[in-house]
């Protein structure tokens, strides 16, 4: 599903965010990305959805080289990927409902389908009562869950979740993880960057630890930690 070969990322201002990273993720896997603040977790997810281009090395998603992809193929790639952004990125003048519906609208879904699917997904993340509210009027956790709902609404083959529980209480976090497990079981590959050591520890999934832009540990059924 995802292959990174000797990938480095140096931002225009000279910050080296990733350094010679090689990583393979198979279809249907559930991978935790862990590491200290500024380790390069978000950068890694941004390379996969082509928000950023690698400075060196190759990034392959679904067998296709992301860097050499034509501009007009990028939207099709992104529609197959569900993304939960660390900073939510909700569209400020659309309601919760409209934000989630937007991910379907870009694919050309019918309003009938949208009217059926969106409320279901909102119920899954516990936001059925907030459907008509604008993002600015939501609590932090509610915004985060809207972002999650938007990411899963069109059954992506890959879910990239960047710290999806940072603003959630433990209980809600666990419900979300159950949702993710469910989705994963139905075949969606999940890559989740997180600082929630309790969740990582008890889920016993593959853990990739980054530090200073390098992969320092890659363990199946691992626990949280980024000391070698």
């Amino acid at each position: 599903m995802i292959q990174l070969y000797n990938v480095s990322k140096i931002y225009p201002n000279g910050v080296k965010a990733l350094n010679d990273v090689t990583l393979h993720i198979k279809k249907g896997e559930f991978v935790f990305l862990v590491g200290p603040s500024g380790a390069g977790k978000s950068t890694l997810t941004k390379l996969i959805c082509r928000e950023e281009l690698p400075s060196r090395g190759q990034v392959l998603v679904n067998g296709r080289n992301v860097a050499r992809m034509k501009n007009r193929d990028v939207p099709h790639l992104r529609r197959k990927i569900g993304m939960v952004f660390q900073d939510f990125r909700l569209i400020p003048n659309k309601t919760v409902y409209e934000n989630v519906a937007f991910a379907l609208e870009v694919t050309g879904a019918s309003s009938k389908e949208i009217k059926k699917v969106v409320p279901t997904v909102l119920r899954m993340v516990g936001l059925e009562k907030k459907a008509g509210m604008l993002p600015a009027h939501l609590s932090g956790g509610e915004q985060q869950r809207t972002s999650v709902a938007r990411a899963i609404v069109n059954n992506p083959v890959l879910l990239l979740a960047d710290e999806p529980t940072g603003n959630l209480d433990p209980e809600t976090s666990w419900e979300l993880m159950k949702l993710f497990l469910d989705i994963n079981r139905r075949g969606t590959t999940i890559v989740m960057a997180t600082h929630a050591w309790d969740i990582v520890d008890s889920m016993k999934k593959r853990v990739v630890a980054l530090s200073n832009g390098c992969i320092i540990r890659d363990e199946e059924g691992g626990v949280y930690g980024y000391e070698c």
Binding site: P75, V106, S110
Partner: protein, 295 residues
Amino acid sequence: MNVNTLKYYFRESTRSVLRNSWLSVASVGTIIISLLILGSSLLLVLNVRHIVSTVESSLEITVFLEDGLDEEALKRMEEEIKFVPGVARVEFVTKEQALEDLKESFGDKADILSGLEKDNPLPNSFRIKTSEAEMVPRAARQLEKLEGVEQVRYGQGVVEKLLSLTHWVRIWGSLTLVVLGAAAVFLIATTIRMSVFARRREIGIMKMLGATNFFVRMPFMLEGMMLGLAGGLVAALIIYFGYLSLLNKVAVTLPFIQLVNDPQTLYRVLGGLLGLGFGIGAVGSAISLHRFLRV
């Protein structure tokens, strides 16, 4: 194209106009004002040109003839005059007619000319119109060379002044319009660009969710078209009714001035404003987005 997507475009653009009401009002206001300035200037220039043409078309050349030319000679001369480049119309004026005209211009002081009838000192003459006012001086010089001509008069000095003035008015009128047109385009495009700029975050997010450039652009373009059309319509209506009432007022208080009022010209001006608003609205939005679409 997908029907659902089409529906989305229309729903989205109308929604956006309403939700960003302040931006919409500001954009439409700028469009109205820019087009009003442009439209009024256009009408002003058209009218000045019209008046200038009217004045020019009253310019004529008078060719005074030697005394004692016979019918045949006059006929031949008329033919010759018609061959002079630029000459459009020739009219023969007898010395008697000339005296009558002179008397008329004296009004109630005409009696000082009484007694001249018997021994009329005025010559026969041709009154000549040229096809274009600018040709008067040149044609006059040609006419002087004809046989049987005693003197050629066309208001020397004044006509040259008038022609150089009207020449200026034409050139500067066109230049002003070009500059104002560019200014209107700049003002409208800037407003639209600022309005897009204020929503740039949203565009980046849409792109990250798998929207194509086209998909992001369409609602903005439709919105730009709507605002441009609305602004163009308001401007056109204001100008239309404003100009009609101006025509009425002028007809009452300045009846001697003939303004442009053929409907076709007027409709062309209004149509131009509407088209300009629509066009800049659409193209301006599309171009403004360009910068924020590279995500």
